[in-house]
């Protein structure tokens, strides 16, 4: 298309689709509503073999679940709303840290200093503050609980309360964006097309519900100074799941299951 007509609503030039936009959006809302009513933001622990129920007629997946079950005992599902990586990752890392006070304190200090880094990078102070304060409040609340089981219960409650849970997601998105921007020379090689790292952050990292790719995971790990092992399960050839450590060669503190378009948490 030339200059003319480059900026047009999707319903142009067809009288019969007058309300098409509204229909599409209404259907999207309906799907989102069904998902949010049937799948909690973060679920309870399930056995890995419970995944078989989703693929009862699919031999490729059933084989791979068998392989997965030889390495992991449990899975914790997250809601597929485009935020699943960020939600799963935040939850899993905090759950892990609850078992290790020293690491938790190091993490807490890192988080405490993170606001200044964001503001220095040009994020607006009061928008960052909102999310930072809630993020720190959650960390504080968790660190104040001495009993491990109680702390894990609290974590689970917090992550299923939309208000708190989404704030945690936003803040991790901002930290990830900051990390990408801080090391933009490195990350620019991973961005397809001619978008800059900053454009990429504005369009694919900071907005809610945008799905995560390798590049998000690498930057999020680097921002939180940790590593992730991702187990890939799809209909590709072979009977085993493929695993990737990010960053390469790390000793991962969080294990995630990836199925096309979605992340859940895994437990050895």
């Amino acid at each position: 298309m030339g200059d003319e007509g480059e900026n047009v609503p999707a319903n142009e030039s067809n009288d019969s689709v007058v309300n098409q936009d509204e229909l599409i959006l209404a259907q999207q809302r309906q799907i989102e509503k069904e998902i949010s009513e049937s799948i909690p933001l973060v679920g309870e622990l399930d056995s890995v073999t419970s995944l078989c129920k989703e693929y009862s007629t699919d031999d490729v997946y059933l084989e791979k679940i068998k392989d997965l079950a030889s390495k992991y005992s449990h899975v914790r599902r997250t809601r597929p709303d485009g935020n699943c990586f960020f939600r799963a990752f935040s939850y899993a890392i905090l759950e892990k840290l609850l078992c290790d006070k020293d690491s938790f304190n190091t993490f807490y200090k890192l988080a405490e200093n993170s606001k200044n880094i964001l503001v220095e990078l040009g994020f607006q102070q009061f928008t960052v503050e909102d999310f930072y304060e809630t993020y720190m409040e959650v960390l504080k609340r968790l660190s104040d609980i001495d009993n491990l089981d109680d702390a894990k219960k609290e974590l689970h409650i917090i992550f299923n309360e939309q208000g708190y849970s989404d704030y945690m997601v936003v803040y991790l998105r901002l930290l990830t964006s900051a990390q990408l921007q801080k090391e933009k020379d490195f990350y620019s090689c991973f961005i397809e097309g001619h978008r800059t790292v900053v454009d990429f952050c504005h369009q694919e990292v900071e907005p809610m519900y945008k799905e995560s790719d390798h590049i998000h995971i690498m930057a999020a790990c680097s921002a939180l100074n940790t590593g992730v092992r991702v187990l890939y399960m799809d209909r590709g050839v072979g009977s085993s799941v493929t695993q990737h450590d990010l960053p390469e060669g790390c000793s991962p503190s969080v294990h995630l299951l990836y199925r096309p378009g979605h992340y859940d948490i895994l437990y050895p």
Binding site: M1, D3, E4, G5, E6, N7, V8, P9, A10, N11, E12, S13, V18, D21, E22, I24, L25, F123, Q124, F126, T127, V128, D130, F131, G163, D166, V170, R173, L174, H202, Q203, E206, P207, M208
Partner: protein, 154 residues
């Protein structure tokens, strides 16, 4: 003092910041906001040295109680709607941060800055090519339009 909801708290903060430290050419009608925190009117002046120099515009911001997770509904209102290839004569604006690329880290201020810069970079005043059709058929709420964003240069 009554307890504010998260979106009210956030809007209150934004309002203070916008009154204290507004971007050049932008001002908020504080009296009106006091009546209803979820409906703002913003006055905007065309920047000097641009095609809109000397013009005054009015923007309306409508917020839901899910703000800042939901983007605000932003339209030009009043008697002077800027003539611009991304602005329809009913005041609807085709700007990706108002729908697809909205992030809770954005704000009224960053939306205003984007609109100012969109106006300032315009080289030729004209309406979008499909203006007549769109204005006739669209929903009152611009967020109910599925926009295609192709061109970031204007």
């Amino acid at each position: 003092m009554t307890c504010l909801s998260p979106s009210e708290r956030r809007l209150q903060k934004e309002l203070m910041s916008l009154i204290k430290d507004p971007p050049p050419g932008v001002s908020v009608d504080a009296d009106q906001v006091e009546q209803n925190l979820f409906l703002w009117t913003i006055h905007m002046e065309g920047a000097s040295g641009t095609l809109y120099e000397g013009e005054r515009f009015q923007l309306q911001f409508k917020f839901s109680n899910k703000y800042p997770f939901d983007s605000p509904e932003v339209t030009f209102t009043g008697s002077n709607i800027p003539v611009h290839p991304h602005i329809y004569s009913n005041g609807h604006i085709c700007l990706s941060i108002l729908t697809d690329d909205w992030s809770p880290a954005l704000s009224v201020q960053s939306v205003c800055l984007s609109i100012v810069s969109m106006l300032s970079s315009c080289k030729e005043k004209h309406r979008p090519p499909d203006n007549a059709f769109y204005v006739k058929t669209c929903n009152k709420n611009p967020k109910k339009t599925k926009w295609w964003y192709h061109d970031d240069s204007v």
